[in-house]
Symmetry: C2
Subunit: 349 residues, 2 copies
DNA sequence: TTGTAGGCGTTATCAT
DNA sequence: ATGATAACGCCTACAA
C-alpha cells in the first residue's frame, strides 16, 4: 500500500522555481504592491507551472482574518432554514467567504459542541439560529474571542448579540385577522415551543388579533407542542374531536401547517368549507397541496443576507452597539383560508 | 473604536499557568499517553481556568489529518440533496468531522472555484455531486494531492473516482412498468439534462420498460429539458396540447414532477382519470399534494452516509481500487398512478 | 515521565 | 524593489 500523494507545493517551491525569495512570491500572491513587472511574470509562471495552491490554515495561523463563516441551524431539512442558508451562502460567497454549515437537531449539547468547534476553527463569524436551552457561556466565550456573532430567527433575551428576526407578532396578527375577516369566530391556535421567541410571539400576535376584534380567547382552542409535523397532526386531531370544534386554525409554523393538513384530511373535514386554515411560514409547494395553503410568508432569503451584512458590519466596527433588525412578513392568500371561496360566493350570489 | 478582544489563549499560556512545558500540555490534550496523573490534573485545571481552545488551523498546519469534509452540491434547496447532506452530516459528525458545505447552482465555474477552495482548506475529503461540464483538472489535482474524493448522484465516465449512485435505470424501469401495469399505453417521458448520468439512465430505463412490454417508443412523447419545475411545466403543457395526448407521464425528477403536476392542473386534466403520473425521487410532502404522488424513491440519506464511509475507507486504504456503490430504489405507490383508482374500480365493479 | 527544540507554510518587519 | 528572518500555535522526535 503506497501513498502516491506527492508533497504539496509550497510557497518556497515556487520561490525556488522562479529564482526569487518567499517574500516576493507572497507579495505577488496577495497584492501586486511593490513588485516589478518582470519578476511578477516569472513568479506567475512558476505558480502556473507547479500548480501552486495557497494553504489557508497556514494563512490563518499567521493571523489573517478567517475566510470561513460558520452557520448553525436546528434543521437543514426545513425549507425555511434551507432558504436562509441559501441567502447566507450567496452573499457570503460573493465576499469570498466559505460557509461552514452544521445542524443541531435542536439538541443543546450538539449546539454547544458546534459552537466550540467554530471557535477552534477560528471562523470569521458565526450565524446561529439558537436552539432552546442555549447557554450563555459558549457564545460569550466566542464573543470575548472577538468573533462576531449574529443570531437569526430566534431572539434570546439574555444574550446581547446582533440579531435578525422577522416580525412574528405582526405576522401572526396578520394571519389571524385575515381569518377573522373571512368571518371565522372560533379560531384555534396550533403552536409550538414557547421557550423559543417565535413560538411566544406568534401566540401573542394571535391573542392580540382576537382581542382587537372582540373575539373571546378560549384556552381550549390554544394548543401547544413542538414545531413538528407530528405535533400539528396530533393537536389538530384533538381540536377536531371536541364537542364544539373550531371553525379555523392558525398554525404557527410550516411543519405544524403540514400536520394540520394531514389531520384534517384524515378526519374527513373539508377545507375551507368546514375549517379554514392559515399557516405561518411559506413552503415552495404550498400551491400544489390538496388545498392551496394560505400562509404568512417570511423573507427567509433576506434574513440570511442581512445576517451576513451584520457580520461584515460588526467586523468593521467591533464596538458598535448591538443591533436587532426586524424584517416584515407578508400574507400570501391562497385557498385554505376560504378567501377564494368567499370571492366565489360573492360572484355566485 | 476599541478592540476589546483579548489575545487568544494558547498552549503556551496553559503550560505557564500549570508550570509545565508545552509538550506536556499537548500530550494531555491529545492522548493521555505518558503523563503522570498529578500533572494531568494540574494541566486540566489550567485548561479549565483559562478556557483554552485548541486552534485547529495550527493543528492542521502541523500535518494533522484535516477534520473537515467538504461537500459540494448543485442545489441546497432541493430536498433530495438536503437529505443527502443530512446523511453526510450525521455520520460525519459522529466521527468528529465538520462539514464544509457549498452549493454551485450547477454553474461549472462556481464549482471549480469551490473545489479549489476545498483544496486550499486542506479538507480531509470531498463529497461532490458534480455539475454538468465538470472538468477533469481541478478534481484530478485534488486527487493527486492525496485528498479522497467521492462522487455522488451523478457518475462521470471520464473521471475515475469512488462513486455512490442509485440504480437509475432500474428505478425508472420500475416506475414505468408500474404505469404499464395500470394499463397505460401512451406513456410520455418528461426528463432533463442528458449530459448528466441520471438524466440518461432514467431515460434508458423508460425505454427499456417500453421495449420489454412491446410498447412502441414514440419520439414525440419523449421531452427533455432541465431538471426544473419550469421545464416540467412547459414540457407537460406541450404534451397535453398534442392532438393525441399521452395517457401517462413519467417525470424524471422531483422538480420535474412538481412542474408536471402544475401543468396538468392548469390544463384542467384530472389525475389519474385523464392522465396517470409517476415521478422519480420522493418529496416529503408527496402525500399532501392535490393528488398524492406515486414516486420512485431514492435512498438519499443512505447515499450521504455511504459517501462518508467511502471517504473514510479510502483514507485508510489510499491505493485501493476505485469503487462504485449502487444503491437500489423503491416504488412508493400513492394515487397519481391510478393504482388506487383501479383498486376502487375492482371493488365497485 | 518530562522538557527542549525544530519545523509545518505563511506573512510582516526590517534590512539591503 | 527584493531578500533574509522572525514569528503564528501546534506537534513530535529526541534528549534528559
Amino acid at each position: 500500500m503506497v501513498d502516491f500523494a506527492p508533497p504539496p507545493i509550497t510557497l518556497e517551491d515556487v520561490a525556488r522555481h522562479a529564482g526569487v525569495s518567499k517574500a516576493t512570491v507572497s507579495r505577488v500572491v496577495n497584492r501586486n504592491y511593490g513588485v516589478s513587472e518582470p519578476l511578477r511574470q516569472r513568479v506567475m509562471q512558476a505558480i502556473q507551472a507547479l500548480g501552486y495552491q495557497a494553504e489557508r490554515p497556514a494563512h490563518r495561523l499567521r493571523g489573517a482574518a478567517g475566510e470561513i463563516v460558520g452557520v448553525i441551524v436546528p434543521d437543514i431539512q426545513n425549507p425555511y432554514f434551507t432558504t436562509v442558508v441559501r441567502g447566507i451562502d450567496d452573499l457570503a460567497h460573493s465576499y469570498q467567504l466559505s460557509v461552514l454549515l452544521c445542524h443541531t437537531g435542536d439538541h443543546p449539547a450538539k449546539q454547544d459542541a458546534y459552537i466550540r468547534m467554530m471557535m477552534m476553527e477560528r471562523v470569521a463569524g458565526l450565524i446561529l439560529a439558537p436552539s432552546f436551552g442555549i447557554t450563555r457561556d459558549p457564545l460569550q466565550q466566542l464573543a470575548q474571542f472577538g468573533t462576531p456573532v449574529v443570531l437569526i430567527d430566534r431572539s434570546v433575551s439574555h444574550l446581547r448579540f446582533d440579531t435578525v428576526i422577522v416580525d412574528n407578532v405582526q405576522g401572526a396578527y396578520q394571519g389571524v385577522r385575515h381569518l377573522i375577516d373571512q368571518g371565522c369566530q372560533r379560531i384555534a391556535f396550533v403552536g409550538g415551543d414557547l421557550q423559543l421567541s417565535p413560538g411566544r410571539e406568534r401566540l401573542a400576535g394571535y391573542q392580540q388579533a382576537l382581542a382587537d376584534h372582540d373575539l373571546p380567547s378560549d384556552p381550549a382552542l390554544i394548543r401547544i407542542e413542538h414545531f413538528s409535523v407530528e405535533s400539528g397532526r396530533r393537536l389538530t386531531r384533538a381540536l377536531l374531536n371536541r364537542p364544539q370544534p373550531p371553525d379555523a386554525i392558525f398554525a404557527a409554523s410550516n411543519s405544524l401547517s403540514m400536520g394540520v393538513l394531514k389531520a384534517v384530511r384524515e378526519a374527513g373535514s373539508r377545507i375551507p368549507a368546514d375549517l379554514a386554515v392559515v399557516g405561518f411560514d411559506d413552503v415552495p409547494w404550498a400551491d400544489d397541496l390538496f388545498i392551496p395553503l394560505t400562509t404568512v410568508t417570511q423573507p427567509a432569503y433576506e434574513v440570511g443576507q442581512e445576517a451576513v451584512r451584520m457580520l461584515l458590519r460588526r467586523h468593521s466596527e467591533p464596538a458598535a452597539p448591538v443591533r436587532t433588525v426586524t424584517l416584515p412578513t407578508a400574507l400570501t392568500i391562497r385557498e385554505s383560508c376560504g378567501a377564494a371561496r368567499r370571492a366565489e360566493n360573492v360572484r355566485t350570489g
